[in-house]
Symmetry: D2
Subunit: 356 residues, 4 copies
């Protein structure tokens, strides 16, 4: 039962053809909700690298995205209406949401691992997402946002959760950490690792601007990825043993190989970056002789990661404001994607119009 | 101080040329020992697949083995003499030994992880081994063998430790387990996993004789590796989710890829098998999206694994007699290698001559 | 929507007065269900030690149990009707259920730890239970029972889950285990520990009949609790180091103290037994100097424990038939409690009348 | 072989009678060393609370301390001589040392857990300690101190290791932490927990000066232990759930009970403080229903903790200078003990005379 009348139509950014680009729909139908669902009036939404892939319509997008959907999966908004069986979420509350929607009955779903449910549906990828006036979400996927967290940070809880899950799974407290790839999530990982008690933090990337930001967020030393000596330099900084933790966030085959090579014997690797094709991997030297532990990271833990995000944000020790370099209106989405393509933006957050 | 006079010379199997084969030396010099060392009169020694590589002089052997050494690293014997500063080992005691000799001063060595010391020396590979009348070992690497453990089992504590370290690192209690590759160590892993409380155990190999033995040792179902449907069949046996644990013991690229593909989301992989060259690896589907945990396994934990080996053997619930298919005299080593090459032997244990 | 008409009334065993005893109600009102609830037609229900406390109306019962409720929390039955918003459970399915009903919105509930939700309601204790024709349960608390599991075992999934959670939390694979107290759950723990790969298992109790059963279920040695020498004897059996794991299932202060004293330095304790009053505890010697790890065990993990129970039962390696010593009709409940009080029964399962 | 002549006698603080006080010996015999031992010329030594117990000759001291020994176990110095079989330590190196001397052959000793060896000897307690010109230590217990760590911090590696082991065992990264008791080690724990990435830190003590220092070291809020409302206040600060971690460093029965009561369900407790007599403990509510994990903490891990201490100190993020409130000469030891008794000193470090 909605508190106020829900309009029949809304603005939406849709993938309307199997081709590059997105279509602005000023009068798309507002989503309907089932008995367990919640309708959220979106106020702010973040553009993810995945959205850019869909915008550019790469091979992965062509194989996965159903034409016709509203895209977008990073958001904050207010609960506008709830299904008749909803009991845990109230209208009017400011919320974000977990975009991985599990089947609810399989072993992963019933043991707190819904993020790796084999039948998971992801908003903005497998079903309608948040780049529009409203989004429908199952009650159990709703996350109430604490008052002290501002909208532009609440809007990016999804990637922040990826970074958090990666850092906290690896375990960085008191350990030396190498981060290969400091894009949006890599930069978040630098800041989180610093707050989470990492020892030395090293970051590697090709983009000097991002490396400068990494230092600002807490990296002790940064390296240009094109310098073939960086693995040697990182080992020198770690008593010639290599870092204890590798957070792989580049998906780049060379960086992956160099990262494993640099890692200390007995070290831990958390892998989030996605190589676009199979990587030639020297398993004996990279993993087996080294006695390494490698963790595949997917999504966020439901909902342990979300509590960690809230905890760090409320602690006052995790500062991410500089991650959000641009705030624009949803209508100006073309500019948002151009800023990302040009490497000028780190994170672009879009304001969604409407009286909320 | 030796209890009895140590002869100046001894029999030894040596690598005397950078070429296939081994040389029988009836009068090799007996090793000398330093103040911290123990001289062990070897009574039984096992032939490892690595010894076969050295015998056949493959590319790896040519790159690693110093010509002139006595090879062999699996043994049991009696302490014949001890260095003047030895305080923890007594003459006459029946012992085996940990063949990874760490530097003793690095972080891995000082934290119970000497098996992954970067400067580790391995007996029979980097320095003189046990295929001879005597072997010199540092006091700290000596393992007293319990009276209730027979010689032919004591002689293979080294590979048994590899299998134990793999199984116990992965954690099989109450979990479904897939073992790819049931050579000597894979078969030991089947038996250990059964004793350690595994749920369903599945084994895959090309050799039907070994698959039959795997069933005898506790595998619930076995699959011919050349059958392309085995991953599907294993998934069917596990509520279509895949096994929770993969023990990779083949080193075969196809088996590795199929094993990861079969693994349950959120599952654990322990990798021991060594591919002979880089493997093309679909990291996103094999590890990242799957949320897998991958453990590189090297050697044995010092000395947690050794206590586990003793505990399981003394429990009366781990039966490995059928692993040792042949016991021969050291002089008949050529026959031992031929039995292995022909696939007729699982494990060959050689008796070393002498009055001990 | 029920498949068949649900009768308006049912049989039920109720606590109708703040005094010892239970009342048989032949025409109690059938529970109503909310939109998220499931109505289960109970076919079999187990009597728990807690039910006996309620029957006898001890101090704890008087302080906790609301007069008027139907008691009982161990059951199996068939789904007779589902609320209008239920989507994961079908009518007709044979089910048991998790009796800890969490609030669903707190941190424990949202992170797979609903069993330790601070607002948890327990069936048969805080709200109507299963000693009656029907029980209403939230959809999320329903557990479908595999066809291969017989009714009398399905009926006791609740205590079996307690035992499983205790054993699997402690981690027994390859470790020596001491179990203090082999009542129903202690005996289940012996059988589970054996299946889960424990090394030596030692059991202590005052009741010789139960000790005999413990040996049958897999204990290597058992001790009469009144023999003051048992801690010394257990240490002798473990190379004078003590067992690596203690499963405390007696709640008896002396047994607790002796168990901690017997434990190996660095060992693990899982505590399930409930002392009826504060225990004098020598913290330095029992826990601190010993470097012990102590785990408080409550309920069952939701739903990791349930999958473990299913896995072990389907493996064919966990045999619990002898636990259920008596099967009686619900009407004969007085006899069931007398059998328990007399120490003649281990577990009594009651058949609930009705056409199901 | 010493680099320079070692004098035959030295200064030493000895326990010469079974009564309060310590005796200054200007010409005590210099310790002799065995083949595996190292002779360290002590330059700085810290006074521990345990030393004060020995000084005051309490019941514990009377039952444990052999009259005649040199006391003291916190030190830094230079290697003056090494036994003939010593191979890992060089003369002249600045070192501290692990004061728990294990037997070297038992399971704990051989698995990196020598700190809980049942036959452990502790310097300054079971054998001669460091309050003197020289101390003899086994080679394996020597810890080389990094040049960048100043003497007054190197001298207190022993208690700093206790604090580190407690904090790192509990795991504080991103978790809320309550510390009951902020004496020397509790204050170190506050500083370490802050560096190790703790979320909110709460400290409780009776001493307002120490609470002020706790806030300076990183506590977010502190509470007077005599205020009965502090558990309620801490719960209010943690969304009414209680802190996730309790570091118990008081040994005070009331604080222990209140700490467990305040702890979140599912939380972790690391216990270091030693109650002087048995504590009445409500096990069901404190541990069992709560699903708590309780860790007994003894000494320091050999040598993982030492690497952590070095890592944090070199990171520049752990500042402990204010812990060492007084540096005095060894001869002025009476003043040192008086400062501690008066509550004026946190940590007193004594300079040991001699040309080193």
């Amino acid at each position: 039962m909605p508190a106020v009348a829900i309009p029949k139509s809304m603005v939406a950014l849709k993938k309307t053809a199997a081709a590059p680009g997105l279509t602005w729909r000023p009068e798309a139908p507002t989503p309907t909700i089932g008995p367990h669902d919640v309708l959220v009036a979106v106020t702010h939404a973040g553009i993810c690298g995945t959205d850019r892939h869909i915008y550019e319509w790469d091979a992965w997008s062509a194989s996965r995205i159903p034409v016709g959907i509203t895209i977008g999966h990073e958001f904050v908004g207010r609960v506008a209406a709830v299904g008749e069986a909803v009991s845990k979420v109230d209208i009017g509350v400011r919320v974000s949401g977990e975009g991985h929607i599990g089947c609810g009955v399989c072993e992963p779903c019933r043991t707190g691992n819904g993020h790796i449910c084999e039948k998971v549906d992801i908003i903005g990828i497998d079903r309608d997402g948040c780049f529009g006036g409203y989004i429908a979400m199952p009650e159990d996927n709703i996350w109430p946002v604490h008052d002290a967290i501002p909208d532009h940070i609440a809007a990016i809880h999804d990637p922040l959760g990826n970074a958090m899950h990666t850092v906290m799974s690896a375990g960085v407290s008191g350990r030396s950490v190498l981060i290969t790839g400091v894009g949006i999530i890599g930069l978040m990982a630098v800041a989180i690792a610093r707050s989470a008690g990492a020892g030395q933090i090293f970051a590697v990337d090709v983009d000097e601007k991002r490396l400068a930001l990494a230092r600002k967020f807490g990296a002790d030393a940064t390296y240009q990825a094109t310098d073939p000596d960086w693995p040697k330099l990182v080992r020198q900084e770690t008593h010639n043993q290599g870092p204890q933790v590798l957070l792989e966030m580049s998906g780049n085959p060379t960086a992956i190989r160099q990262g494993f090579q640099t890692l200390r014997n007995g070290g831990t690797v958390a892998m989030l970056g996605l190589p676009s094709k199979p990587v030639e991997f020297d398993l004996p030297n990279a993993i087996i002789f080294k006695g390494a532990t490698v963790l595949g990271i997917n999504g966020r833990r439901m909902y342990e990661t979300w509590y960690q995000v809230e905890g760090f944000l409320l602690s006052g020790r995790l500062h991410l404001d500089e991650i959000v370099t641009h705030q624009i209106d949803l209508m100006d989405f073309e500019r948002g994607f151009r800023l990302m393509q040009a490497g000028e933006a780190i994170k672009v957050v879009m304001r969604v119009p409407g009286d909320k």
